[in-house]
């Protein structure tokens, strides 16, 4: 007791791993329930059509089929549409225009893959085979598969509620001030960018296993979700499955999410409905081709931006116009992504006195678009970092130097777009990153490459992001339908071991380890004596799940504050045990002590006494040792960093090889460096994937051309380099631990770093992502 080394801040090996490396993880598809039935969805093969007759007779006769349910039956079920959780108002004050979005379509389909019926059968094979026998008449309509087509005056309208296919026309910042600054500028740099549409591709496909117990009038939903409580609330209050206590949502091991499993999807609703209707547990696991068609996609912006500078190369204004593709329907957070987590980050790391952004969103006949790792912030970071890079080159100054001249240097700093950065040292990570990549030696390496017929380039991406968004009241004003605090409950057992119940959800983020490290230190116990429980609404109190890099700064802060409460109560109990005044008791390194006595008590002794309740007046102090906290962060926190990429381009083929990659990030206080580095690595490869490889492409008929791993280019081990990751530290002031979110950073800084490097190598102004070999080869050819 009292002598354990501190765990928090150390690279403690993960508590999750033993089960996951031995094949003992429990993912949703691993669950097999008694009387298990399987669902297969009948999905529209057409991007836009009115639905005619749906003939289920042949399917119903297929052996093993339990039931076939159609959109028409769903429409009669009394269940409500899928909903978007964030209200955005257009600049004219109008609320966003929301089209109807039933979980099973009965009137009209608006994207390929949209479910129109479900077949439930005794086996997966039977369900799938019978689904092919459901005959649906489609009366085809014209198709719009990108925002520009959707904006055309004669474009077909997807939703009657949204003329011109426009959902909203939103703005932020001061347009007049920006116009004036642009007029008065010594130099203006303008760029047009496409932020390519991505498919999240968590390796575990989405999965659902829904059952209904009539004797208890209660649903149980196993689901691969990042946010089990939020999903339960939605299923209860929005969809209409009844009160929350009649629904249990369990998300045990979840195989990655990256945002895509934070939403309410049709399949969850339909499987619950079917389970009750048919009296069987109904399981559905997406095939990868279904994932491509139905997991909410990410990004898909077209942006024009202008940067104004004065004669001293100081940035005076930024003007941004973005057209964002929402897909066929508003997904759960679809309206938020291109607004309050995008345009609010357009100041980047720079002191820009005037910013204005206009965002117009439209519906198209494509898969709905929602939050994908970074969600809005990579889009903003890309705009800013491409723009400053081009500006520096136009002005003929070193891009690093141009950035330095314009960095924000004092904190807190209020930007013209809603955010107040609490802390940071942008110069520090830029300097460290350039040092780590040996920028000084770059020209020599460039020469060496040239001697071998290769083109080498260096690119910088200085990103900022807003993580752990809050406080809830402010988010409510901005349109959020929910609060974004986080909860923690700490249960100290009589023998001194501890269970921590968190409303966050771990699907790769290592909460079971990092959270335990903090709690172990707080109580002076071993990491092995702390169990982190999450992902089951029957076990854990209400919480908000994991996305937006919130689990450290928000979730762990809630745990830390609950620890405070535990210690406070334990100190009172210890005072009685030690027979000393309560205000003399201290707790440090697992020991309760007092200046009034030489006697000391261990954490476990006090825990036991809390439960025996023999030695303190229970009229004053309740027995037991269990505390709950709901932590609402007073503001966002602002992770920031510098990513530097060095590429070598083969001009003959256009192949880009990443020769070096350095990421230096300021995540404030770090709980487990090994885990945080891992988060950075993963984010970097998703960002590099966006920059070089990945793109969801539709044809003019709304067919997804890159709908499998044969055509959608997922980064493989041999596509990416080893990474050199470093940290700087400025504490966040918006949470008690001083932490900043680390989950998304890698995907934000890397795309501009890669593209800036390619442009540097080729001596060109711009190339759109993904910079595929053919695109690069064409750029080389036309630059020559």
């Amino acid at each position: 007791m009292g002598n354990l080394p501190k765990a928090f801040g150390q690279s403690v090996r993960r508590k999750e791993d033993p089960r996951l490396i031995t094949g003992a993880g429990r993912y949703t598809d691993d669950q097999q329930l008694p009387q298990q039935a399987w669902a297969a969805f009948v999905r529209s093969p057409i991007a836009h059509a009115n639905i005619g007759e749906v003939d289920t007779s042949a399917a119903l006769e297929h052996p093993g089929v339990v039931g076939v349910l159609t959109g028409a039956e769903f429409a009669a079920s009394g269940l409500n549409d899928l909903a978007c959780g964030w209200m955005i108002h257009s600049r004219n004050g109008d609320p966003m225009r929301v089209g109807e979005h039933p979980a099973l379509a009965s009137q009209r389909v608006r994207y390929v893959g949209e479910p129109v019926a479900v077949v439930v059968a005794d086996s997966r094979q039977a369900a799938r085979a019978a689904a092919e026998l459901v005959m649906v008449d489609y009366d085809e309509l014209p198709v719009v598969s990108d925002v520009e087509a959707a904006a055309a005056p004669d474009a077909v309208v997807l939703h009657d509620a949204a003329p011109g296919n426009q959902c909203y026309d939103w703005e932020i910042g001061n347009r007049d001030a920006v116009r004036k600054a642009l007029d008065e500028a010594a130099h203006v740099t303008e760029i047009r960018l496409i932020n390519n549409r991505l498919v999240p591709n968590a390796m575990e496909p989405r999965a659902v296993n829904a059952s209904y117990d009539a004797s208890r009038d209660r649903y149980t939903l196993y689901v691969a979700s990042q946010n089990p409580h939020g999903l339960r609330m939605t299923l209860a209050a929005v969809i209409g499955f009844g009160p929350e206590h009649k629904i249990r949502v369990i998300s045990e091991d979840v195989g990655g999410g990256f945002g895509s499993k934070a939403f309410n999807y049709a399949e969850e609703v339909v499987c619950m409905w079917a389970a009750k209707r048919l009296g069987r547990p109904v399981k559905w696991t997406a095939e990868r081709s279904e994932s491509f068609l139905t997991d909410a996609h990410g990004r898909d912006h077209i942006t024009t931006a202008r940067l104004a500078m004065d004669a001293n190369h100081r940035i005076t204004a930024l003007d941004v116009s973005t057209h964002a593709n929402l897909g066929a329907y508003l997904s759960t957070f679809g309206s938020l992504v291109p607004t309050y987590v995008y345009a609010t980050l357009l100041s980047g790391q720079y002191d820009i006195p005037n910013i204005y952004a206009n965002v117009v969103t439209r519906y198209t006949n494509t898969t709905p678009v929602d939050a994908y790792r970074g969600a809005g912030r990579p889009e903003a970071g890309y705009v800013v970092e491409r723009l400053v890079d081009v500006a520096a080159r136009e002005l003929g100054i070193d891009p690093a130097e141009f950035r330095r001249q314009n960095f924000i240097r004092t904190f807190p700093h209020a930007t013209p777009v809603e955010m107040t950065y609490d802390s940071g040292d942008f110069q520090a990570h830029l300097d460290k990153a350039l040092d780590m990549i040996d920028a000084a030696g770059f020209e020599a390496r460039r020469e060496a490459s040239r001697a071998e017929g290769k083109l080498r380039g260096l690119g910088i991406g200085c990103y900022i992001e807003a993580a752990g968004i809050g406080p809830s009241a402010r988010l409510g004003k901005l349109g959020s339908g929910a609060g974004l605090w986080e909860s923690a409950e700490i249960r100290v057992n009589p023998t001194g071991s501890v269970e921590v119940l968190t409303g966050c959800h771990s699907h790769g983020q290592s909460h079971e380890t990092t959270y335990a490290q903090l709690v172990a230190d707080r109580f002076g116990i071993s990491v092995d004596d702390v169990e982190i429980l999450h992902g089951d609404t029957d076990v854990v109190q209400f919480g908000m799940g994991t996305y937006g890099s919130r689990s450290g700064p928000v979730g762990l802060s809630a745990i830390d504050m609950a620890c405070d409460k535990i210690v406070a109560k334990a100190e009172k109990i210890a005072a009685h045990l030690l027979n000393v005044p309560a205000d003399t008791v201290t707790f440090e390194d697992g020991e309760f002590a007092s200046e009034a006595t030489n006697e000391r008590l261990g954490f476990a002794e006090v825990a036991l006494n809390a439960y025996t309740a023999h030695h303190f007046p229970t009229t004053e102090i309740e027995p037991g040792l269990k505390e709950t906290t709901f932590f609402d962060p007073p503001d966002f926190n602002f992770p920031a960093g510098t990513h530097v990429c060095e590429v070598e381009v083969d001009p003959a083929t256009g192949v880009v090889r990443i020769a070096r990659f350095v990421a230096v990030d300021d995540f404030g206080v770090i709980g487990n460096p090994m885990v945080v580095e891992g988060q950075v690595h993963g984010g970097l490869v998703q960002g590099i994937g966006q920059a070089l490889l990945e793109q969801a492409r539709y044809d003019d008929y709304g067919q997804l051309l890159s709908g499998s791993y044969m055509d959608y280019c997922m980064p493989r081990a041999d596509d990416v380099p080893d990474f050199d990751v470093g940290f700087t530290e400025t504490r966040s002031t918006t949470n008690p631990l001083g932490m900043k979110g680390c989950g998304e950073a890698g995907s934000i800084g890397s795309p501009p770093a890669v593209i800036n490097a390619i442009c540097d190598a080729l001596g060109i102004r711009h190339i759109d992502m993904p910079a595929t070999p053919e695109k690069v080869w064409r750029a080389v050819t036309s630059a020559a």
Partner: protein
Amino acid sequence: MEITVTVNGRSHRLDVSPNTLLVDILREQLRLTGTHVGCDTSQCGACTVHLNGDAVKSCTVLAGQADGASVVTIEGIGAVDDLHPMQAAFREHHALQCGFCTPGMIMAAIDLVEKSDHLDDAAVREGLEGNICRCTGYHNIVNAVLSVAEAKA
């Protein structure tokens, strides 16, 4: 049809339809759910097992092709208190996050190390091109595999 297949040292006589895949036999009939399915085009490698000593994608092996074969899955290579060196290395190097691709990645990596004379960073990366991971960025996976290869050398 009836097939006999030895899985992790135990022989099973199974009645299956010909269109059953090895991965379905493992997951659904034998309830060995450590082997995962991550795609439907034989690309992702999450379902990798050893079939007669070679790493294969069990989503692309038919029941009939597995008849008479010996199969080793992630459950058959080590236990929590007796980890295979590759499992231990994955933990030590933080080579997994969500864990979904991990069983297949470990099975592919074991094969790679066993069958290769010399492995460096590039060779490991090339050798794992049949396995997709979306979480780790591969950096730590490569380090884990190299550590096992170096210990073998």
